[in-house]
Subunit: 310 residues, 2 copies
């Protein structure tokens, strides 16, 4: 239990395992049919769907409570970058090239201007990621949706689809990692879309309920700094893979941070890793960590601390 | 503006158009690449993605405020049928065979038992639809999610993927409809996942805040009757298509009812239609309509009135 953020991580893991166990029992529904799930060398199912000679991956995620930053600052056009980053970069981390994204926007009451800014941002982010927005749904759910302030409140999630290039025998899963491999870190420029429950609690404790208005430096408020949109790495990753650079493992640093996400990829080969020169944490991240009196070990599990992809 | 339900349909349409216009500008991102969007004979983009010789469709939707029925009755294992029906049957209505579904469950605070019942229901519904649950995400969003009662509140949506069988030259879109074609209606057994804002308002006006506890007949409460899960038609539709039965148009009756959804399909050919023997509306639907003093014309736009697919 992470008491500071109010999120019970163990319960979350148990619920996710439950959902996966029920889902796994449905894989047989596509056995020997288009869309069948491929099995890895170890017999376990991978997240690869096969249609004739086409191998596809799918990834679903939302941008969580980072949305409150947009509600606080009134800046809505950057969230599309966070939305695309969460799913497209998850696909890229397995070697898939993201091609298509479908999004679902749940709102309490519609506000045309806000929807326009969100979709404009999604359009821009889709361009950076090189994918097409091929589907979408906007649902008005009234009091089932809450948030900050008096304008439209919403939750936003997406499902991205990607294909595995022919030159990859299988998804990039870390199993090819071997002694002497080098880890390259891609710098992030802020928080992605995870760990915001605790960030918001720290900010409230330190600056009071209107913390987003407090100046961070001469140019920006804390609200603006924390809203900094996610960098999207998938086009770089996919270009590297196309250049026949053999990446043995790719780690997208989201919830769980470097320790959990790197460990999952390293587990495939059994090797360990030394990170002697990580990208430095951004100054405002360190300030949040200090204000919250969060130990380094915990901070690197909660946030990316300046490293977006390994 | 539908004042009775509090939902502004015109604003909803404008926001959806806005989102589609931004999305359309992203189609160029996949031009001449895997996942490119196919153009129809009229030059407009269809919802078909092409990967080599594989043609895929994608559909996203949620189950809206029908979830409140589960919160009121404490019955959670049937909602999976509604979730699958909304997206899988939308794909089937275009001739796609649904293969894979990814779901996103947004909750305020997790309840393991409820998650288990939801996922058990999704597993059962996936079996009926013949698809695999290939992805999922559970997000804890605290006060961004609201609902009825004191247990876990949630919103649930899914994105389904399907492929177009080789024997179909293009998706079933109504363009082949010609004079003399016959419409066959597939009966529904209740409300699907649309029009519930007004249903709930009518129930509250007539029976007070605890309307779900009021007996509908000797065996069931109103809460249980309104929760009746959606029938899933996609396996039947896909079997008919495989049997080389030439369906010229398929209409999934969701929001907009028979008039709007049938009109969209008929528009492709320019023909009209006479429906002289629709499936009869279910008794409890008629009772809701009477209690709400809803004219027939409006009722058939809001709800399926006993006809799930045409």
């Amino acid at each position: 239990m992470n008491r500071q953020s109010g999120v019970d991580i163990d319960l979350g893991n148990r619920c996710s395992s439950n959902a996966y166990n029920w889902a796994r029992k449905t894989f047989i529904n596509r056995q020997q049919k288009p869309g069948q799930l491929l099995q890895g060398l170890d017999g376990a199912f991978s997240n690869v769907m096969q249609f004739n000679d086409v191998r596809l991956g799918i990834s679903s995620d939302g941008i969580g409570t980072k949305i409150e930053l947009a509600e606080r600052t009134g800046i809505y056009h950057t969230l599309g970058h966070d939305l695309v980053a969460m799913t497209a970069d998850d696909l890229a981390a397995n070697g898939f090239e993201p091609t298509s994204l479908s999004n679902i926007l749940d709102v309490d009451i519609l506000d045309y201007e806000i929807v326009d800014q969100l979709m404009q941002g999604l359009h821009a982010a889709a361009g950076l990621a090189g994918l097409a927005v091929t589907g979408g749904e906007i649902a008005e759910l009234g009091s089932r949706i809450g948030g900050y302030g008096s304008r439209m409140h919403f939750n936003w999630c997406s499902t991205a689809l990607g294909y595995l290039p022919d030159r990859l025998v299988k998804p990039v899963d870390g199993s090819l990692i071997r002694e002497g491999d080098m880890i390259i870190s891609l710098a992030s420029r802020g928080f992605r879309s995870n760990g915001f429950s605790l960030v918001r609690r720290i900010m409230t404790d330190n600056f009071g309920p209107d913390w987003h208005l407090v100046l961070y430096d001469n140019a920006r408020t804390w609200g603006e700094v924390l809203l900094t949109p996610s960098l999207i790495y998938c086009t770089l990753i996919n270009t590297l893979l196309t250049q026949e650079l053999n990446l043995h493992g790719i780690v997208h640093i989201t919830g769980g941070g470097i320790p959990d996400n790197l460990a999952r990829v390293l587990k495939q080969s059994g090797w360990g890793a030394v990170i002697d020169k990580p990208c430095p944490a951004l100054a405002f991240m360190l300030q949040v960590q200090t204000m919250g009196r969060i130990a380094d070990q915990q901070a690197y599990r909660l946030w990316n601390m300046g490293n977006g992809m390994l």
